[in-house]
């Protein structure tokens, strides 16, 4: 086969892809993108996982180490079968946060940190370098094999160079035609899907050719298997598990896989289809790898490169057409990988390295509109060229001699360093930026030192001597036997040390540092993507942005039509008519997300903040806000306490005022009663004295009777005034009654002696029940006698004539009591409460006249003596008044010691 034919076929094939991509872009622009956005296209685009490594390298690997190649596919299979656990979350976060790349995702999660984005970009570019070199190598080898014998094959370096240049051109033409707001590439994705079909068809065709043309079905193929190649148990040792892990990590962390799975995802539900359809694709593509390898080993001469069995097997049988198909399949595998990887990596480089630098150096105010877009596109184009140049240099430096699978695993181990930060970001809200940065950097450094740099075989940075003996001859630091851990497979060795350092420092760093507020917000969104739809993003405070500034910014980055429609939509959302939208938090967050779709979250955040010239909530700002809040809270607590005190005082004042009013009312009532009481005797005195003065011819007897009445009334008046004075004296409470020890019986004797005449006149008898022993109480004898006299005279007044009065004395709970019982009508229930009020009289015998002050005075006296006067329930009817006083000597002992009181009787 001539080299020219191959070149013609390749160019034709690329032209076909161009057409597909072009039509797809056109249909998408016209809005007819429905079938372009189907789960099938999505699944096929994910198969960009299967590269030249799969197409050529898997067969080589199977010929060398049996079934080990399958681990490259079981890892992704498990990840997709477990889509519910991880991918679903990843896709949801990616869609909600308008994530543009894996670096963007990690940086968004850790507080939109630009540093971590640069770090992840660095890892991704470094790890992609051998991977792209692998594709160049597989393409170059395939050219070489097919053109062999024709003498027209150029030098491998030249072939590789032109392949790299052609791929760069295609990628630039289709990957960077526009800066899409959501960073989706309809045309490229469709072309990738077509390539996916071609590579699967080609490999299956070669497989069928090997199994049913060269051999007699599967049994014959396996009968030709060299002994021990596929059933060796040591194939499934630690290396098997390690490769499964690495491939599982790679299918998530590889920038191009992240691009097709998360960024290009149009509908979350497509993932459900891809969950089984992508493993099925892997299943089908690996099905014939082993038979092709076995048939290659059995048919082809020794020394044939196993990595090229897919091509050399049909060629050796003269099947040039099949060989050409196989070539195109390999071409598809390699080119699709390079194109998508270059797009993903150039997005990362331009968004996370070039844009931040540009923002930091350029003054957006002084640049004309469109500059940002120009910078973006230029930086993406140059990144694509740069990435392919790096891949080409790797190919030249390593000499293109290694097995394809070995190179691919180096790349896998590199991108796997992103995995701990990614998983921690999604599932551990406490992971901090410092932890992630420390873990990722350490893992990357260990990977570069122990696997990546040694892969140059002493050609880059690490010399052959350093590889063999360690730097400066320190054996403990030998790159492939770190700390004396020798005898392991280099891949396992690297995986162990890098992942230990990575995960260890991630945990340690997170434990030792604190999240800033933006990081905390992002961590919450990432841990519960469904809980916060849209995400709050970075709040901008003390904002002075105008809508015009923000519009200018959006126009520069998104282009005029996109910016106009975005702002129109935001205006509609705010229901403002046809004005520009108000720059509130929600509007700025939305604008930031829209810009993030074009230039990445960290850059968008920086740009919006610069224009909004507000400040992101920094830790310091939050702390000072918190301090202020605490002060305000404390102040309000103090105010509350004070107002509570004031309330209590006011309540007290109110009560005092009420009491004063009551007292005032009482005083008024008292005065009116007193004047009423005084009026009656005064009236009779005045009328009798008028009669005496004016009627000269009055009968002397009658005149004497009148004078007696006048005398009596004036005596009543005097008594009344005495009593009022006495009561006011007692009630004023300005002095204490001097208390002394008084023998109760003596006081009773005194009272009886004073009332004797009264009792005798009423014809009553007094029954006195003395206690066996004398009782001594603290009182004032005259006042006590006054109370007793009052009670006795009451009894005389109200009881019927000839009835008896009982005086009973007793002791109860440290108090001596005296009861005066009469056998009169008693006090009616409705009057019981009133009898101690001033001027209240119980209706009784008609001849009974009193001022109604006796009982109030008596009660007041008893209270002043420290005792009490009350009306108690009598057992036989009649009124029973009881006085109680504190007892000094409860027994007769007091009589001997106390000085005998002089009796008045």
């Amino acid at each position: 086969m001539s080299g020219n034919l191959l070149i013609a076929a390749s160019v034709l094939y690329v032209a076909l892809l161009f057409l597909v991509a072009f039509l797809a872009d056109k249909r998408a622009a016209a809005g007819h993108a429905r079938w372009l956005r189907s789960p099938l296209i999505y699944t096929l685009s994910i198969s960009v996982y299967c590269t030249g490594w799969t197409f050529y390298g898997a067969v080589g690997s199977a010929a060398r180490s049996g079934l080990e190649f399958l681990a490259i596919y079981t890892g992704p299979t498990l990840v997709f079968v477990g889509w519910w656990l991880l991918l679903r979350r990843l896709v949801r976060v990616g869609r909600e946060q308008r994530i543009t790349s894996i670096a963007d995702l990690i940086s968004s999660r850790y507080g939109k940190s630009p540093v971590i984005a640069v770090m992840v970009t660095l890892i991704a570019v470094t790890a992609a370098t051998p991977y792209i070199a692998l594709q160049l190598q597989s393409l170059t080898l395939s050219f070489e094999v097919l053109a062999r014998g024709e003498g027209g094959a150029p030098q491998p370096e030249v072939t590789a160079f032109w392949i790299a240049a052609g791929l760069a051109l295609f990628t630039i033409l289709f990957g960077t035609r526009n800066v899409d707001a959501n960073e989706r590439h309809h045309g490229v994705v469709t072309a990738i899907a077509v390539e996916a079909v071609v590579k699967l068809a080609a490999l299956v065709a070669v497989g069928i050719f090997a199994v049913w043309w060269l051999a007699d079905g599967p049994a014959d193929v396996f009968a030709r298997t060299p002994p021990g190649l596929i059933d060796a148990a040591e194939n499934f040792d630690a290396r098997w598990a390690a490769i499964t892990f690495l491939s599982a990590a790679a299918v998530i962390c590889l920038p191009r896989m992240f691009q097709v799975i998360v960024v290009e995802n149009a509908d979350e539900r497509h993932l459900q289809t891809a969950a089984w359809a992508f493993p099925l694709y892997l299943f089908l593509i690996s099905l014939f790898v082993l038979p092709i390898a076995v048939m290659g080993l059995s048919v082809l001469p020794d020394g044939a490169n196993p990595d090229l069995f897919v091509l050399s097997l049909p060629l050796s049988q003269g099947q040039d057409a099949l060989a050409l198909l196989a070539f195109l399949g390999g071409f598809s595998s390699a080119t699709s990988m390079v194109i998508v990887a270059a797009i993903a990596l150039s997005t990362m480089v331009s968004n996370h390295v070039v844009m931040p630098l540009w923002i930091a150096t350029a003054q957006p105010q002084n640049t004309s509109a469109g500059d940002v877009r120009a910078v973006l596109i230029a930086s993406r184009r140059s990144s694509i060229v740069g990435i392919l140049v790096l891949g080409y240099l790797y190919f030249r430096l390593t000499g293109g001699s290694d097995a394809l699978a070995a190179i691919g695993l180096i790349a896998f181990a590199g991108v796997a360093q992103i995995l701990p930060a990614l998983l921690a970001g999604l599932f551990w809200p406490g992971a901090t930026r410092l932890g992630a940065l420390a873990g990722v950097s350490a893992g990357f450094a260990v990977w570069a030192y122990t696997l990546f740099l040694p892969s140059f075989g002493g050609g880059l940075l690490l010399s052959a001597a350093t590889l063999a003996d360690g730097p400066w001859g320190i054996a403990a630091l030998r790159p492939q036997a770190l700390f004396g851990l020798s005898g392991y497979d280099p891949l396992l060795h690297t995986l162990f040390w890098s992942m230990s350092a990575n995960a260890g420092l991630l945990v340690l760093g997170s434990m030792m540092s604190r999240q800033n507020p933006l990081e905390r917000v992002q961590a919450a969104i990432f841990s519960d993507p469904a809980g916060l739809p849209g995400g709050a993003g970075g709040a901008v405070i003390r904002r002075s942005a105008t809508s015009v500034d923000l519009y200018t910014l959006a126009e520069r980055i998104l282009g005029r039509p996109a910016a106009r429609s975005l702002f129109a939509e935001m205006t509609r959302a705010q229901k403002l008519g046809d004005r520009l939208p108000e720059p509130d938090d929600a509007m700025i967050a939305r604008l930031e997300r829209a810009l993030a779709g074009a230039i990445g979250a960290a850059s968008a955040h920086a740009m919006v903040n610069q224009v909004a010239s507000g400040e992101t909530v920094s830790m310091d700002a939050l702390i000072s806000i918190a301090d202020e809040t605490a002060q305000i809270v404390e102040y309000s607590h103090r105010l509350e306490a004070k107002s509570r005190e004031l309330g209590e005082t006011a309540e007290e004042l109110r009560r005092a005022n009420q009491r004063l009013q009551q007292l005032g009312d009482q005083k008024d009532a008292f005065l009116s009663q007193v004047s009423h009481e005084l009026r009656t005797p005064m009236t009779s005195i005045r009328s009798f004295s008028e009669i005496l003065r004016e009627d000269r011819g009055l009968d002397p007897d009658q005149a004497r009777r009148f004078i007696a009445i006048i005398h009596e009334e004036s005596q009543r008046l005097t008594r009344l005034l005495d009593e009022i004075l006495d009561l006011s004296f007692l009630e004023s409470g300005k002095f204490d009654l001097p208390l002394e020890e008084v023998e109760l019986e003596t006081a009773i004797d005194q009272a009886l002696a004073a009332s004797e005449a009264l009792i005798a006149r009423a014809g009553m008898q007094v029954l006195r029940q003395r206690p066996r022993e004398g009782l001594v109480v603290r009182a004032q004898r005259d006042r006590l006698a006054q109370v007793l006299i009052n009670l006795l005279s009451n009894a005389v007044k109200y009881a019927a004539e000839g009835e008896r009065i009982e005086i009973v004395t007793g002791v109860e709970t440290g108090q001596a009591w005296v009861e005066i019982r009469d056998h009169g009508p008693g006090i009616p229930a409705q009057h019981r409460l009133q009898i101690f009020e001033k001027f209240e009289r119980v209706p009784g015998r008609a001849d009974v006249r009193g001022a109604g002050l006796g009982l109030p005075i008596s009660r007041e006296i008893m209270r002043r003596l420290g005792g009490n006067l009350e009306l108690v329930e009598g057992s036989e009817g009649g009124a029973v008044f009881r006085i109680a006083l504190a007892l000094v000597q409860p027994s007769g002992a007091g009589l001997q010691t106390a000085a005998p009181q002089p009796g008045t009787v």
């Binding site: 399958l70 519910w84 656990l85 596929i230 194939n235 499934f236 598990a241 359809a277 493993p279 469904a530």
Partner: protein
């Protein structure tokens, strides 16, 4: 004298219908939850069968119908998880609340 008044036939029927609807809804929720649980169990089972030392049991020089046991085993497990996932995702797992 019986105090209990039996419900009318119509009321009974509608009560039965709403009960049935409730049971059906409960079953649907239960099935949805079971499917989500299976979606978690499946990759764990797959990892156990393909990555753990269990796989070594089948790495023996035995062939069935001319095909080595280990090849049948790996591709068999592989096919099984693909089919199981396809069956699981035939219904939308998001339907019955995925929070």
């Amino acid at each position: 004298m019986p105090l209990h008044v039996p419900p009318s036939a119509g009321a009974r029927a509608s009560a039965n219908a709403s009960e049935e609807a409730q049971t059906a809804a409960a079953h649907a929720t239960h099935r949805a939850r079971r499917r989500r649980e299976l979606a978690v169990i499946l990759p764990v089972l797959g990892a156990f069968l393909l990555v753990s030392p269990v796989i070594k049991v089948f790495a023996a020089p035995v062939a069935l119908g001319g095909i080595p046991l280990i090849v049948l085993y790996i591709f068999g497990v592989w096919a099984f998880v693909i089919i199981a996932t396809a069956a699981l995702t035939r219904r939308n797992l998001h339907q019955a609340s995925d929070r």
